[in-house]
Every structure is written in structure tokens, then in C-alpha cells.
Amino acid sequence: MYRYDEYDRRLVDERVQQFRAQVQRFLAGELSEAEFRPLRLMNGLYLQRHAPMLRVAIPYGLLSAVQLRMLATIARRFDKGYGHFSTRQNIQYNWPRLEEVPDILEQLAKVEMHAIQTSGNCVRNITADHLAGVAADELEDPRPYCELLRQWSTLHPEFSYLPRKFKIAVTGASRDRAAVQVHDIGLYLVRNAVGELGFRVLVGGGQGRTPYIGLFIREFLERRHLFSYLESILRVYNRLGRRDNKYKARVKILVNAVGLERFTELVEEDWQYTRRPELELPESGLEYMRGFFAAPDYRTDDVDATTLAQWRRETPDFARWMDRNLAAHKAPGYQVVYMPLKAPGEPPGDATAEQMDAIADMAERYSFAEIRVTHDQNLLLAHVHRSQLYELWEQLREQGLATPNLGLLTDMICCPGLDFCSLANAGSIPIAKQINEHFDDLDYLHDIGELSIKMSGCVNACGHHHIGHIGILGVDKRGKEFYQLTLGGDAGNNAAIGARLGPAVPKDVVALTIDQLLQVYLEQRESGERFIDTYRRIGMAPFKERVYADH
């Protein structure tokens, strides 16, 4: 993984000093709230319902054991002993004190971390495939590009006061696990006709109040021109994006207002000038960065097959966990182990300081001291040798991190909602709880199979509800919490925005409504079909009829 050198260290240190001074000036009344606001947001600091919320960047979701321990320490020392992993592969603390935030940033800097540009109208944390470097379906590891992009976008002098936030996602795999198509810029590593690697570039995807799937603006971009091309897109957006209405300010609105063709023309026109040698990525620069992401020293043996069979036979819970929470690894003898932060009764995405410490220990013991955050609010150990699976499973169980529900109904995505977020219209954590209580039969969940439920407490869509197979959006109806359901959303290669099921339902019947939807699915599914497949085949009508029949 990437290690800071003298430059990176100096930059985060200087950033901490700068922010400390800004907080002091704010507290001394020398900076107004309006002046301080963008400054604190660009350091991830929100002023929230109960207390400030601090969002710490986890670049492309990659953490070392040392870093995770620091996150645990911060949770203990400055917060209430836990943190919340978000859909953007970051971590959020809900209870820090404003005066202490510079100290937190100082602690983070010691382990090569920061909160730079985790909010604000600037280029945000770059996200990536959480199986980068270990997936068999990968053309090239996207992380060297992600780190280069992180650096290029950090304190970018031209693009720090954009009309609105700007999100970039990258994947090098054929299967999209990074929801690339709902980002302001999405990058797929691809090979062209003559076998060269480059990027297929999407622009104008996004969620929020007006969701859009991104449009392909360039089928093939040479890797060396990545930065100049992105600079041109951002420049066109910075100049022409709307600034009068924050709901119409994302690049997706601009692209759709002027049309993809015109937008492309504008970008190409600027690019003629911007494609200069000084922005070209030299092969040496790429090689240098690749060095940080080289594969670890894998063992070459595999687990003894009889031992594995015996573990599975003697411990059905272990077998079930293995079948559900593991993914393939390209190195023989290794597996990816997911740690769902979705135990029944716990807010999705939350981890306690004890869990974080325990995971850091396990990562050191079993996975080359590396941990990853997924955009589904789970954690994973990317390189576990199969001979150590049983041992690891026992330890995960002790920590409540072995719930065998990866990809199932209860592996929900859920934003903080009304409990923490000042923008919320409705609670989302209580709904997650309701769903967990309603669907507490694991056999039934396994029968239902792969299903993604995603939930947001308001139109900002931090919980990605538009791209859930079942999306749930909290709305406020005359002071009461209601929930708008959508069906058919998809975050993958066939990305789709969900369609509205019908009028929003009251809070107490959300789980019941989902139950009705699942009945329709169970009655109608053909063999091998997931919920989303059945929905695509039979359409909205049967679901709608069932839910609203007696209304």
C-alpha cells in the first residue's frame, strides 16, 4: 500500500496547522460561520444535529492495521467508542468536539491519514473496486491511478470551489463493484483494439435528488493523458455548472442541459490546450506508484482438502459462513474474507473501537496487515490463506463479525438518517432495525438469496437508495416519517435507477411491505432467478398490486 514520503508528510502537517489556525480564528470571531463553513467542510467537518461530525478519508478504502488502530484510538478518545463506515469508503465520527478536531487531525497525520476534501464542493475521496489487486477478473490494478488521482486532486487550486461536490470512481475489473456509473466521473480500465491499456470514461452520473447513470464521453483515453483530460472536464464544469441552485449544480445537470455532444465538444476544445507535457503521466511515475501496490509474498501451498472438508462437516455454521462471506482470490490457496458490519441490532456500517482493534490484530495475523472498506459499508481482509480460515472464523465470531449475511437482505446500506444527520427527513437506522427484527430467520434469508436494500434518510441519497434492488427513501409528510420504495435499481455493470413503487408507506409497515414484495418474488421466480432478475422479467405491476391492493 502507499506510504507517505517527505512531501506527503509535510502536506498533511501543514494542513493540520492551517486548520488549527482557522478554528482559532473562527472561535475568536475573526471568521464568520459563512466564511468558516467551506473551510471546515474541506476538512470533513460538519456541524450536525447533536455535535459536529468528522469524516476521515480512507483513500480507495484501503487501510493498514496501524491506521485502523488509530481510528479505534480516536473513537475512544474523542468519540463515544465507535465509528461509522460510509458508502464512500470513509469513516465518520459523530461526537467529536470542534475544539478537538485539530488534535484529531494531528493524530491522523501521524499514521498518514487526513480528512482533506471528504466534504465541500471539491474533488472528494477517490473510490475504487474493493477487490483491487486480488480479483481474477481484473485487467489492471486501479489503485496506483487512484493514489495518483488523490494527490493530483489534493488542494487543487483551480477546483476547490466547484459548483458542487465531485466524485470519481475507478475500477480495473470487468465486473463493476464500485458503482462507477453513478459518479461524476467514472473510469473503467480497458484494452483498445491494439491491446493498449487505457480508460473508458463516463461523465455525469450521480445520485441525489435527480439521479443519472453516467454517459460515456470517451471510449478510450490513453493513460498518460488521464490528468489533462480530467482537468478539461473539471474546467468546463467549473465555468459552466450552475451555482444558483444546489440541487441543480452537479455536473450531471450540466451534461444533461447542454447535451452530451456539446459537453464533449467543450471538453475536447479545452483539452487541445490542456494536453500539455507537464500534465502527462510518464511511465516512470506510474511504475513508481505501482511499486507500492505490488502483490504481497503469497504462500504457494493450499489447505489440505480433507481438513477443510472436516471443518465444514463438523461445524455447519462455519460452512455456511464460508459459503456466504468469502470471495475468490486470484492467488491459489487464498480467499477474500468479508466482515459484514451488519449484525442484527447494530446500525449498518458501525464498528466499535474494540472491533477495530481486533480486526487490526487479525489483519496482521492473517492478511498482510491490510484491511479494506467496501462501498456496501462492510470491511474485508483481502488475502487470507485457506489453512487459517477456521481460526479466523472463530475470532470473527467472538467480535460479531461473522454474520453470514453478505449480499443478503440484511446486508443493507443505510445512511445515518434522522438519528445523526441534520439534513434528514426520516430515520433510517430504526428502519434497518425493524427489517432485521422482521427477517430474523437466516434460512429464509438464504432462500431469498442476493438482494440489495439501500436506504437514505433524505433525497441526498447517501444511502444509495436509487441503486438498491429495493430502495428506501425517508420522506416527511406533515411532520410524520414516511418511506418511498423503489424497485429495480442496480449498482453494477447494468447500472439502473430504481422506479417508484407507489405512494410512500408509513414507518411501521416498511418491513411488512418488503415482505409482500418478497412473496411476489417467491411465487413468481424461475429457477436461479434473483429478486432483481424476476423484477426485470415481470415488471412493476405484480409488486404494486400486492402492496397497494387493500389500500
Binding site: 466564511e35 467551506p38 476547490s160 470551489y161 490546450y273 500534465l279 503521466l281 510518464p282 511515475g285 513508481y288
Partner: protein, 157 residues
């Protein structure tokens, strides 16, 4: 009026006119629309011109070698359009004259502005330019090239 120029506080030699006078004169900075109407007269008088974020700096291109000063207006400090205008002037058109930030100009944006090519700053009237000078020294690391000659770090590691 004291302004910041080349990272020093100096007395301003220019007069910013939010509305243009009838006859072209020297040492005034006039609105882009008025300047366009009598381009040659303003140019030979030695006047400067100011543009908003919506104005197209592209139209200035032919006049750039003769323009002593261009000011770019930030109606609110969060409106970042003129950062791009500045980079176009400096990077695309190689503008060499004075490039000034006017409007809602505050200390905490000066570093970015300077990196985009601004070399003079008329701070908001209630702010102390002397104190604001500290902003230029806040960072010693620049990852990306802009208009201040810094190279991309990824080319030199």
C-alpha cells in the same frame, strides 16, 4: 487603498470602476461590457478591464499583449469560476500583465488564487492585507501544476 501585489502590501495605483466613465482614461479598471464597446480607445488609453465569472476571457485574447491589467471579480468567495478564467489567461493565452482578484477576496483563498496566476489582490474592505500575507506561506508542497510554475510531483518522483 492598499492592496496585495507580488506578496507585498502596496498602495494601489489603479481605480476600479464598477461603472465606466464616458471617456477613456488611464489607470482605471473598467467593466468588460464597456471595454468591449470601445476596445481600441481603452487600450490606447492604457486602461485595465474587469470581468465576471460569466464573461468569456477568450474574447480578450487578441488584446492581451497590450493589456496592462485584468481584474477578475468574485461576487462571493465560494464562486470559483474565476480560478478557471485565471488559468486560461495564464496557461492557455500566456498573459503576462497584472492579474488581479477583486470582490469578496479573503485570506483563506489567496493561496489557491496565487497558484492559478493572480498576482494582485484587492481584499474585502474589512480585512487587513498585512495579516493576510501569511496565507501565501501555508503550504510548501504542490502536487499538481497550475500557473505558478510548480511541476506535477508525479513527473519527478
Amino acid at each position: 487603498m492598499r492592496i496585495i501585489k507580488n506578496q507585498e502590501v502596496v498602495e494601489d495605483e489603479w481605480v476600479l470602476l464598477r461603472e465606466a466613465p464616458a471617456a477613456p482614461a488611464a489607470n482605471v479598471i473598467v467593466p468588460f461590457a464597456d471595454w468591449c464597446e470601445q476596445r481600441d480607445a481603452w487600450l490606447s488609453a492604457g486602461a485595465g478591464v474587469w470581468l465576471s465569472g460569466a464573461d468569456s476571457v477568450e474574447e480578450l485574447a487578441p488584446a492581451l499583449p497590450q493589456l496592462p491589467l485584468i481584474a477578475l471579480d468574485f461576487p462571493q468567495f465560494v464562486d470559483g469560476r474565476c480560478y478557471s478564467s485565471a488559468r486560461l489567461l495564464r496557461n492557455r493565452y500566456q498573459y503576462q500583465g497584472e492579474l488581479r482578484a477583486i470582490g469578496d477576496i479573503l485570506r483563506d483563498q489567496l493561496y489557491f488564487m496565487q497558484r492559478c496566476g493572480f498576482d494582485s489582490f484587492e481584499l474585502r474592505a474589512d480585512r487587513d492585507p498585512q495579516e493576510a500575507l501569511q496565507a501565501f506561506a501555508e503550504f510548501s508542497v504542490r502536487y499538481q501544476p497550475a500557473a505558478d510554475g510548480a511541476p506535477a510531483l508525479f513527473r519527478y518522483r
